[in-house]
């Protein structure tokens, strides 16, 4: 469909622990990336890295999804050993998308539902506590406005027991309009550090948030080629319609966030 489009280059993508951490169909993010990149004329080289595999020397974009507590426990120790390299990548403006459990473990630490403290890699200045039995999970549709100007409105579905709190240095990824967000209390959703984005949004998040997907592809191209590579805006009616439908559902079904003062 876009065979005449000049190639904009190739980005190197790491899909981290996707055999363990894809419990809420975060796999859709990689599928959407591959599809969109083909439309835009961007090549994608994917390296899947699971337990025991070495990280490649370089990467332009890293994806990690969510998992159950048990799966997070399985990867946490090994992920911690990869912390220095992943933090160095983030400091070097490698684009990243960490969803749900992956977002939690990219923070300083996560105290899970059984009270076990899992180490994080401290890439985001956030900490997460699952309050445990008796506390409702944060489950439902989300509509939020990203703090990234070129991303705008984001939609998705959240399902997490953990409450995430931003540290003083942390910038939220979005402000919640409908849904719970990081902790149901302060109206923040996710976290941004340089070109790395953490979020609780499933849906999967990238297929129907095309501006976010394009933002990540541009950041990855910038990292690869050391300069801005502008991708020509390409409409995608299917993505736009699904985004619109999800936004309508969130407005109808999810509680409007009332802006409770930060504790």
């Amino acid at each position: 469909m876009t065979s005449e489009r000049p190639s904009l280059g190739t980005i190197r993508v790491v899909s981290l622990y996707d055999d363990v951490m894809s419990v809420y169909a975060d796999r859709g993010n990689l599928l959407a990336l591959q599809h969109r990149a083909a439309v835009l004329g961007v090549g994608v080289e994917v390296t899947r890295v699971s337990l025991g595999d070495a990280l490649p020397v370089e990467a332009d974009l890293l994806l990690i999804g969510g998992g159950q507590d048990r799966e997070q426990r399985r990867i946490a120790q090994e992920l911690a050993t990869r912390g220095p390299k992943l933090r160095a990548w983030a400091a070097d403006d490698v684009a990243m998308l960490a969803v749900c459990g992956g977002f939690q473990l990219f923070g300083h630490w996560y105290r899970d539902g059984q009270g076990e403290l899992l180490p994080g890699i401290g890439l985001f200045d956030v900490t997460t506590v699952a309050p445990g039995p008796g506390w409702a999970r944060c489950i439902g549709d989300v509509l939020a406005i990203s703090t990234l100007d070129d991303v705008g409105e984001v939609v998705g579905f959240e399902n997490h027991g953990g409450r995430t709190y931003l540290g003083p240095a942390a910038r939220p990824f979005a402000r919640v309009e409908h849904g719970f967000g990081n902790n149901g209390a302060d109206g923040t959703e996710g976290c941004v550090y340089r070109e790395a984005i953490g979020t609780y949004l499933h849906g999967s998040v990238l297929p129907k948030n095309l501006a976010l997907l394009d933002h990540l592809i541009e950041a990855a191209l910038r990292h690869r080629y050391g300069r801005d590579v502008r991708i020509a805006w390409e409409q995608d009616l299917y993505a736009a319609r699904a985004h619109h439908a999800a936004a309508e559902v969130a407005r109808r079904r999810a509680p409007r966030f009332e802006g409770v003062a930060r504790p």
Binding site: A25, G140, S204
Partner: protein
């Protein structure tokens, strides 16, 4: 009774309300009613196949001279069970013909732990445990742990009928207080050559990763755990040879010393598993294999599960898709047809469908795309489904939210004499089946009950 009253009021049938009333009126009611069936109580649970398996066990029990008392599809939570029991009891609170009655209940996997000690089943069937509607059930580990705790707490000495091929179900044998009947597939020719994406429950009860020599679907297959030595045990009820085709399956079934050939009027390996579970439940009830096999062969499909209708010179087949594992099995069964496919796919996002529609990205829809002659996406989240197929490389010919118009368009585009396959989530299946049945000249679901 109350059920009749609410049904007469029209909308939506009356499968849940009287249960609520009765529960409020009489604590201990479930216990006293569930204790009455002279043939005992059978529970059927698991992520996929509950309704079909219950339907097949009912056919087997009926052929053996029992009178099964079953709950209706979709009423597998506490209220639905209470309704079933209350409706069956007379004014004196007694179930008629109790001596021949077999309580036969499909029970939601998350609702079972609370109901199990109250129903005190004679036979408890566990089919499988797949990732399903995480917004409703939470994480699957908690479902498996709940089952184990429920069995440890004890309620008589039920015979456990367990899927030997599903590691998280087979592990329940460790918690059995009575006999265990394992069922499974021994014919490795039906193993998948390509691992499906939607695998889960990949961890053993000990916490280590389960290894598979081969899988039949999802994480179900020939498994073992090197860390603790748990491994798939040889089942007493098994398929020695399986031949799958587009419309039916031929299965050589072995049950202990007995063997028989089952011609199953349903497509897909998951249908074979349901039939094996029903045979194993029959075995637990003391029914010979030959009788079970005959009863299954004669039983039609369960409500909305591969039901076939004829509408305006087209065959219409309805498939219920609730989760990635189930949808993958439908894809596999559709591909077995070996012809260009006309598919009408519905995605709803009600509570019974799963409000989170992410799961469509975990199903391997890419496999289907090359075979699609025509695709219509429909339902409340038709746009999400259309996007999923778009990303899989196959944009739909039409995207129509509303059930009636979507059905008309898809039927009109299906050549006369051809087959329209309707794949739908739960609430969409109920809606579209109603319209299809009406068009085919059959009475609606609620009227036939």
């Amino acid at each position: 009774m109350a059920g009749e009253a609410t049904r007469r009021l029209g909308r939506g049938g009356g499968t849940a309300l009287p249960g609520l009333v009765a529960r409020t009126l009489a604590p201990g009611l479930v216990e006293s009613l569930a204790a009455q069936p002279g043939q005992g109580v059978v529970t059927v649970t698991g992520t996929n196949g509950k309704t079909t398996t219950t339907h097949l066990v009912a056919a087997i029990a009926t052929a053996a001279g029992m009178t099964p008392l079953t709950n209706r599809t979709g009423s597998n939570l506490e209220r639905g069970l209470v309704t079933t029991l209350v409706d069956a009891a007379g004014a004196d609170g007694r179930i008629a013909d109790a001596a021949r009655t077999l309580g036969l209940f499909e029970v939601d996997e998350a609702a079972l732990p609370a109901l199990f000690p109250r129903l005190r089943p004679r036979v408890a069937v566990f089919l499988n445990l797949f990732r399903d509607q995480l917004d409703r059930y939470g994480e699957i580990d908690s479902v498996a742990a709940g089952w184990a705790r429920m069995l440890d707490a004890g309620a008589g000495t039920p015979t456990l009928v367990l899927n030997a091929d599903d590691p998280s179900v087979a592990a329940l044998a460790d918690h059995a207080r009575g006999p265990v009947v394992l069922f499974g597939v021994e014919d490795r020719s039906v193993a998948l050559t390509l691992a499906e994406h939607a695998t889960d429950a990949r961890f053993c009860a000990c916490g280590a990763r389960v290894k598979h020599e081969a899988v039949t679907m999802g994480h179900v297959g020939w498994w073992r755990c090197d860390a603790c030595g748990r491994a798939r045990q040889a089942p007493q009820v098994f398929a020695r040879r399986v031949t799958l085709s587009a419309e039916s399956s031929e299965v050589e079934v072995v049950s202990g010393e007995e063997q028989a050939t089952l011609v199953l009027p349903a497509a897909g390996l998951y249908s074979v598993y349901n039939a094996l579970a029903a045979v194993a439940a029959g075995r637990a009830l003391g029914i010979p294999l030959a009788a079970s096999v005959d009863a299954i062969a004669a039983a039609g499909p369960a409500f909305g599960r591969q039901e076939r209708f004829e509408v305006g010179g087209r065959a219409v087949r309805i498939w219920l898709a609730k989760n990635p594992a189930g949808l993958n099995e439908i894809v596999r069964a559709l591909l077995a047809a070996g012809r260009p496919l006309h598919v009408l796919a519905f995605l709803n996002d009600g509570i019974q469908d799963g409000q989170d529609v992410s799961w469509i990205y975990d199903a391997d829809l890419e496999r289907l795309t090359a075979r699609l002659e025509r695709l219509t996406c429909a339902g409340a989240r038709a746009d999400d489904l259309a996007l999923r197929f778009h990303i899989a490389g196959r944009t739909p010919e039409a995207t129509i939210g509303e059930t009636g118009p979507a059905l008309e368009a898809a039927l009109a585009a299906t050549p006369e004499g051809g087959t329209l396959d309707i794949v739908a989530t739960y609430t969409a299946m109920i809606e579209v089946r109603e319209v299809v049945a009406a068009r085919a000249g059959e009475r609606s679901y609620w009227e036939t009950a």
